[in-house]
């Protein structure tokens, strides 16, 4: 769990530095969506980001339940600031790994259960995505991937898109096998997120998922 904590702290440091460069939605425009009692959160973004960054750096060096809890709380507050999430999946994974890490630090006897929780979320993240894709005919005939790539300025031949689509579909759907043979899936997963970072600008996913891999490896290799 120590490596999960360190890696998710790195992910939070990088995410938070990015947030300092982004102009958030204006608080007064968001206010109608929130109960009055919670509207103060909307006006605190710089303070929340500063606390989050300092807590993540401190957690990297001296992990503790209090710091993990601060990271969890500030991650939630940042998500609220962006109407639920800033970048969808990477926020979900960051939050749920932080939640599991916080619980394991508060109640050390639950560490294994927390590792299971992270591993299950990790496996589900690929498996559910794969099932949702394979049910869509445009993924099976390569059209969906071609469209996504074209929107990102990449143009590949139709045949290559079909081939790549099926590689992605099989990789995601077979991901539950990672509990038996984790390394191929962890290595392929890392490459998958690196490519996604370059092609779709999804760099946050790489670090958030990287933080979950130690949980999968520990459970798969050591039970």
């Amino acid at each position: 769990m120590i490596w999960v904590g360190r890696l998710i702290s790195v992910a939070v440091v990088l995410q938070t530095i990015e947030f300092f460069w982004v102009r958030p939605f204006r608080a007064e425009l968001l206010a109608p969506e929130f109960p009055k009692i919670l509207r103060w959160i909307l006006k605190m973004d710089r303070a929340v980001l500063t606390i989050r960054l300092l807590a993540a750096i401190a957690a990297l060096l001296f992990p503790s339940a209090a710091l993990a809890a601060i990271l969890l709380l500030t991650t939630w507050m940042v998500a609220i600031r962006w109407r639920g999430t800033f970048n969808g999946g990477s926020d979900f994974m960051t939050f749920h790994i932080l939640a599991a890490w916080s619980v394991s630090l508060c109640v050390p006897s639950l560490e294994k259960a927390c590792l299971y929780y992270i591993a299950i979320q990790l496996i589900l993240s690929y498996f559910v995505a794969g099932i949702a894709k394979i049910l869509n005919p445009s993924w099976r005939n390569g059209e969906a991937l071609k469209t996504f790539l074209t929107r990102s300025g990449f143009h590949l031949a139709a045949g290559i898109c079909v081939l790549l689509s099926w590689v992605i579909l099989l990789f995601e759907i077979l991901y539950p096998l990672s509990i038996v043979t984790p390394w191929p899936f962890v290595v392929l997963g890392g490459l998958f997120h690196l490519v996604n970072s370059y092609v779709f600008g999804l760099n946050r996913f790489f670090f958030a998922w990287l933080a979950g891999y130690p949980a999968l490896l520990i459970l798969a290799l050591h039970g």
């Binding site: 990015e18 939605f25 991650t75 109407r83 969808g88 979900f92 300025g153 370059y198």
Partner: protein
């Protein structure tokens, strides 16, 4: 209120639907200009890529506005509409899908 709890329930469906890809066009000096443009990928983008994060967040906002308007909501009463108007810098804007205008707003 959904914004408060959304992060507690993960959704792991990524890129499963091609969906619509709305474009925000803003009138600047009499010309329609795209406001949400794909940023350039830089060599350090794996570690630091705030422009892309904002690009995705802006596109999600446009898609959300489109869904809310399609569901019959009055745009003027939507937070999404106010945020898109702000994104457009308070200028005249329109939202297009495949070149067809689906929503227009005066400054």
């Amino acid at each position: 209120m959904k914004s408060l709890w959304r992060i507690f329930i993960p959704t792991w469906r990524f890129f499963d639907e091609v969906g619509v890809h709305p474009e925000l066009l803003v009138k600047i000096d009499g010309q329609w200009r795209s406001m949400v443009n794909r940023p350039r990928v830089r060599w350090f983008a794996l570690f630091f890529n705030p422009e892309f994060g904002y690009y995705h967040a802006s596109n999600n906002l446009l898609e959300r506005l489109l869904v809310e308007v399609a569901a019959g909501a009055d745009p003027e009463h939507l937070v999404s509409f106010a945020l898109v108007r702000d994104l457009a810098g308070g200028r005249e804007f329109k939202l297009t899908v495949n070149g067809e205008s689906v929503l227009e707003a005066q400054p």
